[in-house]
Amino acid sequence: MSLALTDTDRPYLPRGVRMVEDRLRGGKVLLAPEKAIALDMIGEAILSRVDGNAEFGAIIADLATTYDAPEEQISKDVQRFMIGLRARMFLGVHS
């Protein structure tokens, strides 16, 4: 199945997955079942906009404005990031 998100899909972190502050190492880390993923600034910027309400298209638009970058490029990067998380079952989607 294709795990790509459409513009109106609303991604969310499912139960058992959360982004927290890594007190010792600094920065944010995504905690999931038996996995901890250190997030870079981009990953953090994406996931801080994922709340189950915001639509994929709106998240892209927001990131493009905030970072003054072309939507097309942002969309490609975010899509890749989210597909990776969905394949590991670390991201859910309301459609």
């Binding site: 499912p14 997955v17 010792l24 905690l31 079942p33 038996e34 901890a36 079952m89």
Partner: protein, 361 residues
């Protein structure tokens, strides 16, 4: 060399367990209830772990639900800010206890699977009725929406049921399936001639997992631990000795991996005597095989040395008699012929009966 802080800690709360799997990862010398750390000490260890940088805590055993204080321990781990994972056979997890564990902040359950039907599973687990009880617990877990990983321990006697195992994981609502082929340490080594899969089973298992992984994308994530005697390269044990994880045994002994006590010349320290951080950073046992400076040849000149760190120390010792030798699973190891011999031996019928893990009070 700067030593990183650990990410994950495996807390073996007890060696007690209603099951008696012949591949149990507990050591052959099992500890009884009398030597187990008390509630307060464990919770202190969880806090020390969080301060040391541990993010993920695996509450395991034995069967962790054999501890009457499992809910208190879960709460203590949660309060320390750790991500909590209960590694269980499901036996002893009543609906009431599941509710209490959920309320105490349990993040995730890893449920073990011995087989896909009662006859096989109860024979392997050495516990009649275990399979049916496990299936009931799985339903309770699914109904509560608790994130679930099914950990299917695979070997010669159940690897042919892999397709059904995958179906079962989907039916249980698991998000993740670990197809964990038995690792040959301790009890499993004793039973190696019964448990080693055949080469055909190994090839078929890889095909089935690869196919299912594609088909079930977005439904079930897979982690596959293939039978490593058939591999070309050794596993990177623990991601490198003393690098990402640590293990605390029921009496508080701190180990770089669960089988490390099989290396007799190393002395392992206890949280009863020393702070966890001191043991992690300063103890000779943790520094013995840390990094790559200690690596022998051909590892030292190998372009995979930062990938597998010479493989598994316990396996190097168990098979080649030298814990600092290259893991003999590696095709480049001078002792690789010993692996070939083991595979040949295991392909022949064996006279020795299978030995189930002993009980412990």
């Amino acid at each position: 060399m700067s030593v990183p802080s650990p990410i994950a800690m495996l807390a073996e709360l007890t060696h007690r367990c209603p099951l008696a799997c012949p591949y149990c990862s507990n050591p052959s010398e099992l500890l009884g209830r009398d030597s187990e750390l008390d509630t307060e000490t464990w919770i202190d260890v969880f806090q020390q772990a969080a301060e040391l940088g541990v993010l993920q805590l695996h509450l395991s055993g034995g069967e962790p639900a054999s501890r009457t204080d499992i809910v208190e321990l879960m709460q203590g781990a949660h309060d320390a800010g750790l991500y909590t994972n209960l590694i269980t056979s499901g036996i002893g997890l009543t609906p009431r206890r599941l509710d209490a564990l959920e309320a105490a902040g349990m993040d995730h359950i890893q449920l073990s699977l011995q087989g896909t039907n009662a006859e096989l599973a109860d024979w392997i687990g050495g516990y009649r009725g275990g399979f049916d009880r496990k299936m009931k617990v799985a339903t309770e877990i699914r109904d509560r929406g608790i994130p679930l990983t099914l950990n299917a321990v695979m070997h010669r006697h159940n690897l042919d049921d892999l397709e059904r195992t995958i179906e079962l994981a989907v039916e249980m609502g698991a998000r993740r399936l670990e197809v964990a082929c038995v690792q040959f340490h301790g009890w499993a080594t004793t039973n190696r001639n019964h448990l080693l899969p055949t080469r055909e089973q190994t090839i078929e298992a890889k095909r089935v997992v690869a196919e299912a992984e594609q088909r079930l994308r977005g439904t079930l994530a897979f982690d596959f631990v293939p039978p490593d005697y058939y591999a070309d390269f050794p596993k990177s044990c623990m991601g490198g000795w003393g690098s990402a994880g640590l293990n605390v045994t029921p009496n508080g002994t701190v180990l770089p991996c669960h089988a490390a006590e099989s290396i007799p010349h190393l002395t392992f320290e206890s949280v009863q005597d020393r702070r966890l951080a001191e043991i992690w950073f300063d103890s000779p046992a943790f520094n013995a095989y840390r990094g790559t400076d200690w690596l022998p040849n051909p590892c030292q000149s190998c372009d995979r040395k930062e990938i597998d760190f010479g493989g598994c120390r316990c396996q190097a010792l168990a098979i080649s008699g030298d814990a600092s030798a290259p893991d003999p699973v590696c095709g480049k190891s001078p002792n690789h012929g010993l692996i070939t011999k083991i595979l040949e031996q295991a392909a022949k019928p064996t006279d020795t009966p299978m030995l189930w893990r002993g009980a412990v009070q």
